[in-house]
Symmetry: C2
Subunit: 333 residues, 2 copies
Amino acid sequence: MYDVAREAGVSVATVSRCFNRSGPVGEQTRRRIERAAEALRFVPNRAAQSLRAVRTHTLGVVVPDLHGAFFSELLRGLDHAARAHRYHLLVASSHGSQEEIRAALRSMSGRVDGLVVMNPDVSASTVEANLPPRLPVVLLGGRSGPAAGTLGVLGIDNAAGAGAMMQHLLGLGHRRIAHVAGTASNHDAAERLRAYRAAMAAAGLATDGLVFDGDFTEASGYRAGAHLAGLDAPPTAVFAANDAMAAGAISALRARGLRVPADLAVAGFDDIPLARYLSPPLTSVHVPISDLGARAVERLSAAVEADAPLIPRQETLPTTLVVRASCGAGDPS
Amino acid sequence: MYDVAREAGVSVATVSRCFNRSGPVGEQTRRRIERAAEALRFVPNRAAQSLRAVRTHTLGVVVPDLHGAFFSELLRGLDHAARAHRYHLLVASSHGSQEEIRAALRSMSGRVDGLVVMNPDVSASTVEANLPPRLPVVLLGGRSGPAAGTLGVLGIDNAAGAGAMMQHLLGLGHRRIAHVAGTASNHDAAERLRAYRAAMAAAGLATDGLVFDGDFTEASGYRAGAHLAGLDAPPTAVFAANDAMAAGAISALRARGLRVPADLAVAGFDDIPLARYLSPPLTSVHVPISDLGARAVERLSAAVEADAPLIPRQETLPTTLVVRASCGAGDPS
DNA sequence: ACTGCGGCTGTAACCGGTTACAGCCGTGAA
DNA sequence: TTCACGGCTGTAACCGGTTACAGCCGCAGT
């Protein structure tokens, strides 16, 4: 900036005012400055601006992984809302490891005005210990305990969603319903599994041998499908903890000559955009993934604008059952 | 930091040395400092560190959109490589608009050590005009002209991939082959369309009425499938410019009672992870998406470490044909 | 000619770290 | 006792912007 000032024959203060329109600058002075800035390819250094302003216009995002449609959709929601509020996104992924989480959180300090942390197995105290006080943070989909300290918590209603799906399947007459569970340490996965077990128990049905441990990937869904197809008494329905595993399961079942839904109904969870385009279109539980991101940004943005600590409220977004052809009911389109 | 220094009864220099192990610090002094830092929840301000060090340990990523498996996969590749080189990622999306691109680029200045820009319709001069000189930049999948100025260019071999796919379809005996094109302004889409036309022309086949304008979304693929199924003389094969549109097309064809591949073969492009789990498993052109991201990070990282301008080389990554069941050939699993 | 005033512009402190350089202190040797 | 030396620690400049405050200049009014 000093170079631009020298080139234009003015002081740095004038250059700054010219760029931010934060003070009066003479017409021809402005032209000289703009010419100089262009010639020198001057672009203001945001780090310096952030340092001085104590505002970065950036929100941090820490997710366990970037793989799959779920995170893609979440990021899209975050991005969309961030753009609307004129924020940028700083993304870090912490492949589950506590150490990586610590590093990711610490790397955010001073670079962001607020933080979205999605991590099943991270405690509120870990987050707080590695961030400066007063930084607004929203925890996504963590344990639904009371929002601790100054953290906001945002989750989805896994129990209600999984419950609705189970009622749907039971209502269609299914009695042997299998469940392909998500990553064991994942909180959402645990809630979905619990709701499955509860619904089966309430209907007086056993779940022995009907729960398959998956990890949210298509490949694990495929393995589950292959396993179930080979059973002596295969289930008549499979409820997967997410859509990717449901797609994998369908693929495995078909490869073994089973028809979906005629021989076996399949249902998923998340309702990713592709779900309606699978063959057959997948019955799923719609999760407002991008709304989740949008809502997180709203809350952070509100806290930042007001320069007040975030209200440590817990919020749960509703889920809705989406019936398509893969369970044999509803519009077969 | 001054607070920590005061609390521990030392100077800021000692605190800094203690944290970075960049100088000798007495044993009990260190303990006092650590105790004070913990009590005050001190986390160093990265903006200040960046400003002083002129290194941010962050790479910027500008993509047109965050939607879909392609970007998800790209981000994963970038993230993985960035993590390996101990970099963080600053992500911005510029929904196509020139103005948003400008804003995104300018917001990166001083916050990143290097930049990955993926944008079909952005000229090298736009990029250069909105970034400080000497900032290493890799352009992804842009026009494959000679790498301009100081920009690196990284692309994939669309022509070879689409060509191989067309040879495969023609080899299976197909003569009426339709193409579902990607977003018109997209460079990759244009190259794939061109290769399709070239292959048809070389085989002496007409393409009248066989090209459908899509936009890379499942919905546009669905519309294309519905349209093609309703033709008086439907094609015997459909080559979609990406997998999402292929999935949409399959869904539409099945909804109208057509069998894939028996009545109509379908092929895609990108080979997203889900492709093998579609029903039927999708024949596609494998694009090393995550390698693309990894390679971009490698080149930027090399330039940053060497503190030398990036070598403005153009690099093209190969694509490979992946035959699955959706075209009636190959392993039907 | 002098004063008042308003429009531009310049000087310098500050944001929160890092680090070159200088200084302090205690110990061992002369 | 004096001096050299090495191990710690403190002072202050610097990174690149922003901005409070002061100063300059020209013009209108008296």
